[in-house]
Symmetry: C2
Subunit: 405 residues, 2 copies
């Protein structure tokens, strides 16, 4: 059985008009001989009546509701969406049925608002696909062993789609968004940014973690584990978008160059913190990172030196971090308005000189590199936010990414 | 355990403002030492985003959705309502939890959109009441043996409340509405109409069937079967409203007169049809009533005579009924704009002269009685709609109902 999972997010299913675009993609797949499992998010964004945030806004305050009831409430958003979408597929002469996450077989643990999928029992979906062209599944939800409705934490409907793709061994998992695929850089920053036709799972993970935001990394991990090909596609175009797979070369043949660098991602709103001590350095490390962890402040760019430590936090957590450090008796110095620029490419593994090219490209423009770090597929630099546009553009030019695609 | 079931309809839970009134009733019961099971309808009426009709209006057409999916969709209305209401109880310092119909133990058959309650498993509610003051149950819904969400047909949330009252052996089932109780007559027609303090189950059934519309007869039947006292109360007043019980005299003591007549109900929009034949009269009866039944036209005031039959139908079905009769070769005559006036009173059983009082009262006003019928608690007359106000007022006066209450 040829099978595709197609996921449509909140903006794609928001109105009858936008759903027409979504439905045309489902119809195309059905006409091409696929059975289709559609995963939908709640309809729209805050302000739209059935969107997750709007449903939550019906409640007085966080404290007047348990997480169990929060899940019961917000799950209605995706359930409503699944029935509405299914009915419009039927109107468009497809044969469709709507299932809740629970009915679609999503068994989770009981960690309400942040539930983890424990199992996807596909019997019901497989059964429904015998008599239907399409099964529409309410994303972002499941049930725990007591039958209570849960919502998935990380990744929401993307995760539902990837998990279904893995469990059903789908030919593709299509994630429809309002962008045309994974771009070589943010097109709002770099005019010559191009959509990529193929990227690897690990590349997209690094791109997404660094702010590309088109797909949740958790969904990519799930797809990667069972090697289900993902496609990042635009709801509003017929293109096949960006294929995400384990190797860049094998899927779409020799028209894909064996490129060194795939793309440049960035994240702003970062504050750099430095703490020094003349006392016991081990005690400082212990106290600093314990206090950050307890306060659930995420840290990055950790640079340990003999007399102290430098690291970054999201600027939204900076005041709290400084307060904690002062409470411990330290006198931290901070540098706010920093940005992280990630040069991502599975092809850089084992290729010497990439860091030197990055550093050369930035210093030629007079851009100060505050810190750097690297893994085998990514090199990160911390710069000042004012240099962001120039830095990303310079790196995009240096690696000739306008010729990618 | 002292236990009350309190049901709030769509208009009572429509807005934060109206819910404040509802919540004050729950609070009063909690302060009086009761555990409270609240049953809520979906919030508001058509046009409000989470009302049943509005949810259904999201769908293209009846034919683009199965009854199973229709139930999945509309059940979200009551589920959302239950979580919102529960959260506001918590804000008001009560300790509340929300349950879906399924979680509250409503097992139904699989007749979607018109499901019949097969069992109410109260374990979960009883368990929750150990640690909560209030359990809020989403009305109008349950699940079938396959775990599919169903909605109840007749009576909706009223039925949920009555079934819970029966299963939990509640002290009272309070049905909150926007009227102050069961009235001796429609106050829009009879200025001196008064709320009744006590009526019997069979009286309210006759009142409700005849257009009183404050509680669904199915809910009354359920309460009657297990002798759970119902109270019809106003959301916006502190009064105890109308108590509905098996005997009028035992519940609220000797301040209740052993009255002959309880109230006057009415229903307009009725058409009288007469069919005559010179042929076989048995064939006429057979053909007339079979054709009405097949077309699902409800008939009333059936008056069989040697040469034909006279009966009434809702005026909305009159054209169809006439067409069917003409197709059978009959030549029916019709009288439209009729009204049915019901004089209801459990106390009339075995008391002679009630019919004569009714006839006397109406003929004194020059009101023509087109037909009449009676049971042991109700006498019905068919009159012309133009005489309705005068007839109801005359009967209300004759039986001195302005002194009831």
């Amino acid at each position: 059985m040829k099978l595709i999972v197609q996921k449509f997010g909140g903006t794609s299913v928001r109105s009858k008009e936008t759903r027409k675009n979504a439905i045309s993609h489902v119809q195309k797949a059905v006409q091409d001989g696929y059975k289709v499992v559609v995963v939908v998010s709640a309809m729209g964004r805050h302000g739209d009546p059935y969107a997750t945030d709007t449903l939550l806004s019906l409640i007085d305050s966080e404290s007047s509701i348990s997480n169990r009831e929060k899940d019961l409430l917000v799950s209605c958003g995706e359930t409503i969406s699944s029935v509405v979408f299914s009915s419009e597929l039927n109107t468009a002469s497809m044969n469709s049925v709507a299932l809740t996450g629970s009915q679609a077989g999503f068994l989770t643990n009981g960690d309400f608002t942040n539930a983890k999928i424990e199992k996807v029992k596909t019997d019901r979906i497989i059964d429904e696909l015998k008599t239907h062209d399409v099964v529409v599944v309410a994303g972002f939800q499941g049930k725990d062993e007591n039958g209570e409705t849960t919502t998935l934490g990380r990744g929401g409907s993307d995760t539902t789609a990837a998990a279904l793709g893995a469990a059903l061994k789908a030919d593709f998992v299509d994630i429809f968004t309002d962008v045309e695929g994974i771009m070589t850089a943010d097109p709002r920053i770099v005019e010559s940014a191009r959509p990529l036709s193929v990227v690897t799972y690990s590349e997209i993970c690094n791109m997404a973690y660094q702010g590309a935001k088109v797909i949740h990394p958790r969904a990519v991990e799930l797809a990667m584990q069972s090697e289900v090909p993902l496609r990042i596609r635009s709801t509003y175009k017929d293109d096949e978008g960006t294929l995400v797979t384990s190797s860049r070369t094998e899927e779409r043949g020799q028209d894909i160059p064996d490129r060194l660098i795939t793309g440049i991602a960035h994240l702003s709103g970062i504050t750099q913190i430095s703490v020094k001590t003349e006392q016991h350095i081990g005690k400082l490390h212990d106290e600093v990172f314990s206090s950050m962890a307890e306060a659930k402040i995420s840290v990055d760019f950790i640079n340990i030196s003999p007399d102290g430590v430098t690291y970054t936090v999201p600027s939204s957590s900076a005041d709290k971090a400084v307060q904690l450090l002062e409470n411990l008796g330290y006198h931290p110095t901070t540098l706010s308005n920093c940005a992280k620029v990630s040069t991502v490419g599975a092809g850089m593994t084992g290729v010497p000189g990439v860091t030197s090219k990055i550093v050369g490209s930035l210093t030629a423009k007079g851009i100060e590199i505050l810190q750097s770090a690297d893994s085998h597929t990514t090199i990160w630099v911390l710069i000042k936010e004012k240099d962001l546009k120039e830095a990303v553009t310079a790196l995009h030019d240096t690696f000739q990414l306008e010729q990618q695609g």
